[in-house]
Amino acid sequence: MNLKPETLQRIEEVIPHYPVARSAVLPLLHLIQEDAGYISAEAAEWVAARLGLQPINVLEVVTFYPMFRQQPIGRRHIKVCRTLSCALRGGYQTCATFEEEFKVHRGEVSADGEVTIEFVECLASCGTAPVVMIDDDLHENVDCARARELSARLRAEAAARR
């Protein structure tokens, strides 16, 4: 396992928060996913060994929770809310706009590896629907025009990186 020193440090900090080590499974998986981008089979086994569990105890968690993934995704993660309040305000069109902008279907990584688009369930910001999360940041009232603006910004940021 090749984890950054600060990730390893935060892992050691979080484990004593719980009287039972198994409770640290979710926090450890979050830390590893933030570091490595996804949870590899090796990572799941590493977490199990660190917490004194069987690998299946970790794997069953990874496969249950929607936010944990077992393969890498695009550099930027666009999560469009699909649920009713957003849909009533045009969430499906917002998602379709991102798909057109990046020529990629929801659930897939764009050919250049830049973005993954995901249609997710309620993000708890229904009053400013439709909403979208890009990586950790929430964007509110994202109609189709706003979705195109955000897409242009993401492309500009990608170009600046290259």
């Binding site: 979710l26 917490l51 105890n57 929770y65 009713l84 009533l88 369930e121 229904c126 009053g127 400013t128």
Partner: protein
Amino acid sequence: MPAPAERRIIFKHIDEPGYTPDLACYLRHGGYAILRKALAMAPAAIIDEVKKSGLRGRGGAGFGCGLKWSLVDRKSGKPIYLVVNADESEPGTFKDRYIIHQDPHQLLEGIMVSSWANNVRQAYIYIRGEFPHGARILEKAIAEARAANLVGPNVLGSGYSCEIYVHRGAGAYICGEETGLIESLEGKRPYPRIKPPYFPAVLGLYQCPTIVNNVETLCHVKHIVDVGGEEFAKIGTPGNTGTRVLCVSGHVRRPGYFEFEVGRITLGQLLHEVCGGPLPGRTFKAIIPGGSSAKVLRWGETFTLKNKDGSTRTLAVEDIPMDFDTLAACGTMGGSGGVIVMDDSVNMVEALANINAFYAHESCGQCTPCREGSLWMKKITTRMVHGQARAEDGALLLGVADQIAGRTICAFGEACSWPTQSFLAKFGDEFRAYPGTKATPRPESVPLA
């Protein structure tokens, strides 16, 4: 009658210019004075005030907070845990988000007061994974409070010690169910536990007595200790005390969050006066009053309700006071306070297809009726909106839904079948009339599924 003015207690500082989530700002606004007051009170006296206040849980079930606390097993010799349900996931609900992001110390003070009252030495805030900034804000707030001796060992020199930790979820709605949340906090799949025997008050986190309270509920506790239970009980209406944050989304001109005394505002006042009425050229059609699990109300319907003296009264949908008891008497629930509004552009088959997709995605899969039933309800409504509707689909949907509710370990069984049951009861015609071939275009509205 004009709508009453908002009464902001919990949301007093939300969106206030210059109000920041740091400790210094909170202290400038009188923060943690109530924790000092609470630490000078006997724990049993605080529990007593909470009982007197009549506070009902703001997470969904509306269970009495004082009663919940009084059920805690205090003789087991095991530690008592407080778990804060900050897994805000019920579609249509978005109140805790603002408390967490803008006023985290209000929540921490509520947690500390409640922990002292219940002899809790370790509290966990279970926050949904989709609030990464919220988790960081809470962690920073805890560190600040700890440095100021407001959280941690020997709080304010009282001899009382309590730690608070933030625990992030990872995108599963079922973690909002309190025993599922506990399983998740134990590092497992969040399969809800069967009750009895696993009542959290007796056998909760690590098989120890555990209190699970909603974010807004714990914030109210702080204010109850401030004014006293009797004074608090004067806010709102009898049996439905305090204020409550109502979240309005969907087809109104001004969606958002509004805090009112419970039961002092009617659904009609809320939607017409506070939220500016329907969108231009539209009329209201259907309202889900308490998060997407709550049974739908049809705009224009009336209810015959029983009075205490045995007589009956008729109540129009727009005259329903937004409290726990009247909404329950009208066959739905106040739930989490999330009001979702649909106007006449919406076809109810499409709306149900959207809701069913949510529940099929979120069923934990533990109980067969729910795992299979939620999936089949989704398959049927998805098929309907994609040009394959059949005349018998409404009856088929109802048949599935009726076999889920009451047959599962947790309330998700009801949550996923109530939408189908109520949509069919109130809008059955639309299901019977839905176009059944690909050649017939789908109803004209924004796509919902």
